[in-house]
C-alpha cells in the first residue's frame, strides 16, 4: 500500500471530509511525525507501536572505490518497535494461514 492508496482507503471509510482534506491530513500527520523524530522526541501510539531514535557510535569506514579509511561520525537513526496489538494482529494472520 502506498501513501495515495492509504489516502483513498481513509476517504472510503468516512463521510465528512473531502479527498483533498484527507490527503492534507495524511501529509500533515507524516510531516509532524518526521519533525518529531528530527527534533529528538519519541512517538507513542498505543496498539500500533513507538518510534524513537537509536544512537550509532562513530566508526571507521572505507571509501569503497579507493579503499581509503574514513572516520564516520556518530549519528541517530529512527527505530520502530511494534506495539502488542500490532504484533498479535500481524502474527494472527500468519497462524490463520495467509
Amino acid at each position: 500500500m502506498t501513501k495515495s492508496e492509504l489516502i483513498e482507503r481513509i476517504v472510503a471509510k468516512q463521510q465528512q471530509l473531502s479527498a483533498k482534506d484527507v490527503e492534507l491530513a495524511v501529509k500533515t500527520i507524516l510531516e509532524q511525525m518526521s519533525q518529531t523524530l528530527a527534533s529528538g522526541s519519541r512517538i507513542e501510539i498505543r496498539g500500533f507501536g513507538s518510534f524513537s531514535l537509536h544512537y550509532r557510535a562513530p566508526r571507521k569506514g572505507r571509501n569503497p572505490k579507493t579503499g581509503d579509511a574514513v572516520q564516520l561520525a556518530g549519528k541517530y537513526v529512527p527505530h520502530f518497535k511494534p506495539g502488542k496489538e500490532m504484533r498479535e494482529r500481524v502474527n494472527a494472520s500468519m497462524q490463520a494461514g495467509s
Binding site: 468516512q14 507524516l30 500468519m94
Partner: protein
C-alpha cells in the same frame, strides 16, 4: 537529554485541528483511521510504502530456541510474522542531523 513529551494520537489530532481547521471529532477520526488502515494492510500481509517517511515490511521468522528469563527453562519461540520499519532516505537524513545531548 531534555525529554520533551512524546507525540501521541492526541497531539496529532490537535495539529489537524490547529493547522487544517478540522473539528476535533473529525481530527480524531482521521488519526485513528490512519493507524488502523496501516494495521489492516499489515494484517493482510501487505507492505506499506510511505514515500519520504519509510516502509513497513513483514518478515517471517522460523521457530528458534528461547529461554524463560525468570526460570531459565528452555522453551522454543514459535515461528511468527513480524513488522519491521525501514526509514526512508529523507527521514534518515533529517534525523541524522539531530545532535542531541543523549549519550
Amino acid at each position: 537529554m531534555v525529554e520533551i513529551d512524546a507525540l501521541t494520537k492526541a497531539g496529532m489530532a490537535e495539529k489537524l485541528f490547529e493547522e487544517l481547521g478540522l473539528n476535533k471529532r473529525e481530527a480524531k477520526e482521521i488519526v485513528e483511521l490512519f493507524f488502523e488502515e496501516i494495521r489492516l494492510s499489515l494484517e493482510d500481509n501487505e507492505q506499506i510504502k510511505l514515500s519520504g517517511f519509510g516502509n513497513f515490511d513483514l518478515r517471517e521468522k522460523n521457530e528458534r530456541p528461547g529461554r524463560n528469563p525468570k526460570t531459565g527453562e528452555e522453551i522454543p519461540i514459535s515461528a511468527r510474522r513480524v513488522v519491521t520499519f525501514r526509514p526512508g532516505q529523507k527521514l534518515k537524513a533529517r534525523v541524522e542531523a539531530y545532535a542531541g545531548t543523549k549519550q
